[in-house]
């Protein structure tokens, strides 16, 4: 351990760490471009200069190790002078693109200028022109060489993280240009991350291009539902321009740091899947005998329609012959929701045909982040429903339904046509008396159902997923449920209530607390202890 002082504050840190790591631990600010904790040290931007007593010149914090008794000043005259001079050098050739640059509002040249700069600029000459300006270098990323500060974060990302060697810095001196190999594209499964790590507007996301100014965005922590890894993310939604892009509320996803799950990264497929939150949402509740006109007029109206549908459904459930209902649950549901599925269908209604595992849906897996299992909560489903791939295989339920051995079928968000084919869906539909579909996005199964209960996407509710390593992680509500929809846990607790069961859940926290009481895997957990990083459950 080493005892050091940073800006007058004394701290004890591990021996051998760099000054910038110590500064970050102490939550003191220091400008930096090339330094990124997930990448090797480049030491080329030269802006992270600090004054260290007894050293003649300022030093870069990212490549200087702490020593016992070191006294560091990040904002002394000397340090500030060094930082400002580097800032001025970088801004000398930087194009005045702020009005048209997506990075504005989260740009490290802007931010550092306001925080550490505020000097009188002296550059009075023509700026260097570079070859590629506003040039798409692949399906996901746009390159602007003139904005680039040549920090080489993207080069190191391609060499060290994805090992796809996408980028290089060509030429020499102030004609240096960042680029991909001439004629090649940036085309790997993690390409979106380079727009995250680029501190300026040189590499920007094509999907997000010109969509919204970032100061109109709100952010909420959540977890990506794209596969069993559960990469930690931030959901960025518009919060001041509701009619800017009509009904699109979520603008983009960004990875959130979690050293135990996804480090600092997320895959492209997960990143761009945010569109499912707003696209193709089911907004109209449907039930036999219910109104067929649009239920999205006033918020109150659609609630009334959903309430009526639930009442009708509850009645159908109550009056049904024992064993006449089959349930296709889904590992897309949260732990809370699966807990209520168990309470409602297995415990209360004694349903025997209860399954959740859809065959043939495994996809690509790599040795980095992407898992073959494209569900966020397979582990939770298996544990809470006490089933595995064989005993929980929905094929048996679907077969029985096709044969007419199941009278009524409750489907949670799975599209039977996608898993088994349109013919199977037709066969099931023809044999089953009542088909209930509950889910956020439309699909052929929803179209064929008698009861359609629109439910919230993962971005519109609180809850937890359990990833493939048994880590229970929180998702949090970022935006309100789309008009007409409710979180699945709320729909299920309404049904439980209507069936005369004891229900006193006001929020998802309450459901989780109940789950933690009954299921040993979750013992001792609550939303507060799960925090931002999640907890691994007991084996």
């Amino acid at each position: 351990m080493a005892n050091i002082t940073i800006d007058g504050k004394q701290l004890t840190v591990k021996d051998g760490i760099t000054i910038i790591e110590a500064i970050d631990q102490a939550s003191v600010g220091l400008p930096r471009y090339c330094y990124h904790p997930g990448l090797s040290i480049a030491g080329n931007c030269r802006i992270c200069q600090v004054e260290v007593e007894k050293m003649p010149r300022t030093v870069i914090a990212c490549n200087t190790r702490v020593a016992e008794g070191m006294v560091i000043h990040t904002q002394s005259e000397k340090a500030k002078d060094s930082q400002q001079s580097v800032l001025e050098f970088l801004l000398a050739n930087h194009p005045l693109d702020c009005p048209v640059c997506d990075q504005a509002g989260e740009c490290k040249l802007q931010d550092y200028y306001m925080e550490y700069g505020l000097y009188d600029p002296k550059f009075n000459d023509l700026k260097v022109k570079k070859t590629k300006k506003a040039f798409p270098i692949g399906p996901t990323i746009m390159l602007d060489q003139e904005r680039c500060v040549l920090c080489t974060r993207c080069v190191r990302f391609g060499d060290e993280i994805t090992k796809t060697n996408d980028f290089g810095v060509f030429n020499r001196g102030h004609h240096s240009e960042l680029d991909v190999y001439p004629g090649k594209e940036l085309n790997n499964k993690y390409s979106g991350n380079v727009a995250d790590i680029c501190p300026v507007g040189a590499l920007t996301d094509r999907d997000f291009r010109f969509k919204m100014r970032v100061w109109y965005l709100g952010s909420q922590d959540s977890v990506c539902p794209g596969c069993a890894r559960g990469c930690n993310i931030e959901v960025h939604y518009e919060k001041s321009r509701p009619y800017h892009l009509k009904e699109k509320r979520v603008m983009r996803l960004k990875p959130r740091e979690n050293q135990d799950v996804n480090k600092w990264w997320m895959c492209d497929e997960g990143r761009y899947a945010y569109k499912a939150i707003d696209d193709n949402r089911i907004k109209k509740t449907r039930y036999p005998g219910g109104p067929t006109t649009s239920a999205e007029t006033l918020n109150g109206q659609s609630e009334k329609v959903l309430e009526a549908a639930l009442e009708k459904l509850a009645a159908a459930l109550k009056g049904a012959k024992p064993g006449s209902w089959g349930v296709i649950a889904t590992p897309q549901s949260t732990n809370e929701e699966l807990f209520l599925v168990r309470r409602l269908f297995r415990d209360a209604l004694k349903v025997k045909d209860l399954a959740f595992w859809a065959p043939g849906q495994e996809g690509y897996q790599d040795d980095f982040l992407i898992r073959a299992d494209k569900n966020p909560n397979m582990a939770g489903a298996k544990r809470i429903l006490a089933l595995d791939e064989k005993s929980g295989d929905i094929t048996s339920v679907v077969e029985r339904a096709k044969k007419g051995e199941i009278e009524n079928l409750f489907v949670f968000s799975t599209d039977l046509a996608k898993v088994f084919g349109a013919d199977t869906l037709k066969a099931v539909r023809s044999k089953v008396k009542t088909l209930v579909f509950e889910g956020p996005n439309g699909n052929p199964t929803a179209d064929a159902a008698d009861f359609v209960l629109p439910s919230s996407s993962y971005a519109e509710k609180d809850g937890t997923f359990t990833n493939f390593e048994g880590r229970v992680q929180r998702i949090r509500k970022a935006v309100e449920p789309v008009i007409g929809s409710l979180p699945t846990w709320l729909i299920l607790s309404r049904l439980l209530f209507l069936l005369g069961q004891k229900v006193d859940y006001l929020r998802a926290d309450d459901v989780f607390d109940d789950l933690a009481k009954t299921e040993p895997a979750f013992a001792g957990m609550n939303y507060k202890t799960l925090g931002k990083g999640g907890t691994v459950w007991a084996k």
Partner: protein, 440 residues
Amino acid sequence: MTEPVLSRNFTVADAWKMDVAENHGAYETAKKVLTTMQPDDVTNQVVAANLRGLGGAGFPTGKKWQFLPKESQKPIYLVINADEGEPGTFKDRYILERDPHQLIEGIIIATFAIRSKKSYVYIRGEYVESARRVQAALDEAYKKGYLGKGVFGSKHDLDIVVHRGAGAYICGEETALLNSLEGGKGYPRLKPPFPAIVGLFGCPTIINNVETIACVPHILKNGPEWFAALGSAGNGGTHLFGVSGHVNKPGVYELPMGTPLREMIEKHAGGVRGGKKLKAVIPGGISAKILTADEIDVKMDYDSLRAAGTMLGSAGVMVMDETTCMVKMLYYATKFFSHESCGQCSPCREGTGWAHKIVTRIYHGEGSLPDLDVLLKIARNMEGRTICVFADAAAWPIQSYIGKFRPEFEEYIRTKGQGIHRDYKEYDPRVGAPKQIGAH
């Protein structure tokens, strides 16, 4: 000075061939050292001789060798820096082309001293003839058993490889040279770690200039006291000084360390050409701060020039007479640095380019007086904040030319380029067409 040491074979015909070189004593000392001495004794002699690195930095050579780890699991490398590129310097080319066996003998003794079995000679790409001759000399040495397994039949093995650069001044910087030798761009490395600990391929490495290593056989032959006494206090030996510019006899001059600059120019190089008056002298390659005509009574060694506020550097003396326009010389100096900056770190990449743009504007008659202070600010902001000393080297000409010739710069700006010493007024190849100066 009595006998030439380093340059004694420069005018001997075909001295780059083995038979001629051996007739003049090549390899005798190396044979003796390898069969009768211990490695550390050799190093001690080099330390006692006050041999300083003759590439530009002047770091005590023996001390550098002593930085190597005592025990090393990894192989130790000796890399010869023959990437001569400092404007005003040409001395190493003479050794490479005219007496390469002197260098090879030095490598044999040095690798013996530092316990290295492999040496790379990094020769700048444009020195094609030098590379050919060194390779030919190596081939001859291998044939005679002076290289390869068991040098001179001793237990010392040694392989030497000639490696050609491809045109980049920055590869003369030690760690940039290593990166270039490893097959990459000439980007200098962050220090620490220093090459003696982590160098070529991550192994302990000593990088020495051609001339420095060429001194080693002489030190071992005649003893360190003799070598030290040839020079001045703390700066042992003779040195190959390159004198060029406005002198009557430009060329390589082997003189003792500590020879006064005035003597070098007036006596050895024949004085300023055409009987003109001296205006300024760059004492050590383009990076060295310039001296005015009344500052040339300084001794030419590392310590004296440092005390005089400049440096010996690569000993490339460039003489400027009264017809020289300092604005133009700064234009060409900043052009050099902006072309040769590797571009890795922000202050140098942007600063050298920015400085050249300003000086270009001034040179073409579109400058203003505040530009001079901006140039000095750029120079001050580049100094000490970069990965290597290239930025410092780029800053020094700016600071010293403006610092010592400010009235000339101000006059030039005020007269929009008429200047008092503009020595041509016709075709300006920089611009491409005859430029109407002052015709606003």
